[in-house]
Symmetry: D2
Subunit: 140 residues, 4 copies
Amino acid sequence: MSDPSRASIDVEVRYFETDAMGVVHHANYLVWFELARTRLCADSGRHYADIEADGYRLVNTRVEVVYRRPARYGETCRVACWIDTIGSRSLGFSYEVSRDGQVLVTGSTEHLWIESESGRPCRMPEPYRVPFLRLAGQEP
Amino acid sequence: MSDPSRASIDVEVRYFETDAMGVVHHANYLVWFELARTRLCADSGRHYADIEADGYRLVNTRVEVVYRRPARYGETCRVACWIDTIGSRSLGFSYEVSRDGQVLVTGSTEHLWIESESGRPCRMPEPYRVPFLRLAGQEP
Amino acid sequence: MSDPSRASIDVEVRYFETDAMGVVHHANYLVWFELARTRLCADSGRHYADIEADGYRLVNTRVEVVYRRPARYGETCRVACWIDTIGSRSLGFSYEVSRDGQVLVTGSTEHLWIESESGRPCRMPEPYRVPFLRLAGQEP
Amino acid sequence: MSDPSRASIDVEVRYFETDAMGVVHHANYLVWFELARTRLCADSGRHYADIEADGYRLVNTRVEVVYRRPARYGETCRVACWIDTIGSRSLGFSYEVSRDGQVLVTGSTEHLWIESESGRPCRMPEPYRVPFLRLAGQEP
């Protein structure tokens, strides 16, 4: 086992994402997490859009976010994402949003593999097993 | 021909919808327009969700919005919607957002009937013809 | 001590809130939570907009959401909110989103009282102490 | 007079931006327009955040969008923005969203210069006159 792979993206704060307090509204960090998760999946050679095309979904079952410092319009933030748990039917991701090396927000999400047609939970589909285990730093 | 039917809904400003200027961000009015349009369609006896279940879509082809005065958190606005043009394959809606009788924003949208399966434009589906002509104030 | 007061609001799913899975995107529940929290504060006789006008902010420091079942366009959901913890400088709220009595999503948020001018944490401002203790079911 | 300067940015479609039709919801293009406008202003040497810090606002007074083809999750779009009219108190911008050279969406926005303190329209502030005339391709 080695450290999990991290995807890092730079996100420019959108005016639309600010609120009347003059800072990024707290709901938008979930959207940034998703962007970083998309990049991490793409890094494994499988875009999340492929997962859907293959007949599966990774449904969000839990989200936790801790807010330390706000981000503002005019700033660009770095969002890192990595896998922290792999279950037989589930995946857990962790996130860190920072600006100039200072941590603003951290979080985690849990997801369940679902077969689109039946809408029922399923085992991690075979074509994703090795790529995701590699991302997680676990030798398959 | 008579006046078109108007649907009116009350929308409470969401904190999420405000921006760093302390007012509702201009993109959100399109979302409010859509809420009022949903209500107008429902008033005809056909929810927009039925249109999709029946295998059709009403795709947005054009939007125009004029902003006169801002709305703020803590306020509730009234959004009115009515049909202003019916073509053989298209529909046009108009909108007015007001607060305490004062007009804040006006707008219009144009839509095309699309058959979901083929993705191609089509004539207004028969089950919608009479209800929509009635909404438009045109005797069928 | 008695049970905390609950505010309940009905939220009609907006088309804008759905995603390509055909369900409400998970980030939107934070926006619904905020709407219900706004109503709960208003029920205490103090609108959240007053808090800002008085020179204070209730800043989000933590969010947790558990997703059980999805909501879809065409549906109306009930969102309940109540206070579950009151600290000297903090407030904790809990939430439940349901549809026809079936629980879809639950969650909690933690907030810190901030003095707007200094940007620093402060004790719960005196004018809010009694109303919020009453909301929490704690006799002041 | 020469051609106006164009700012071009690449925008990766966010899952959050898709709707139940499986495409980018039409309201999000206003947000993309704003991102490209931010970049164009930054290219002039003046970030839009500076305008606010200097005590001014560029308030949206009108928006028009024409939708030709949809964008989908998994795609990256190019958004171009340029100034098309400069009035003594107003600015007009045009936009084009494309993917692989194919135009998806076009639009325009109109803005009014506002003095933040008074909330009243004002002439284009002196420090912005030359940079914006240059962006517009008009020799100052």
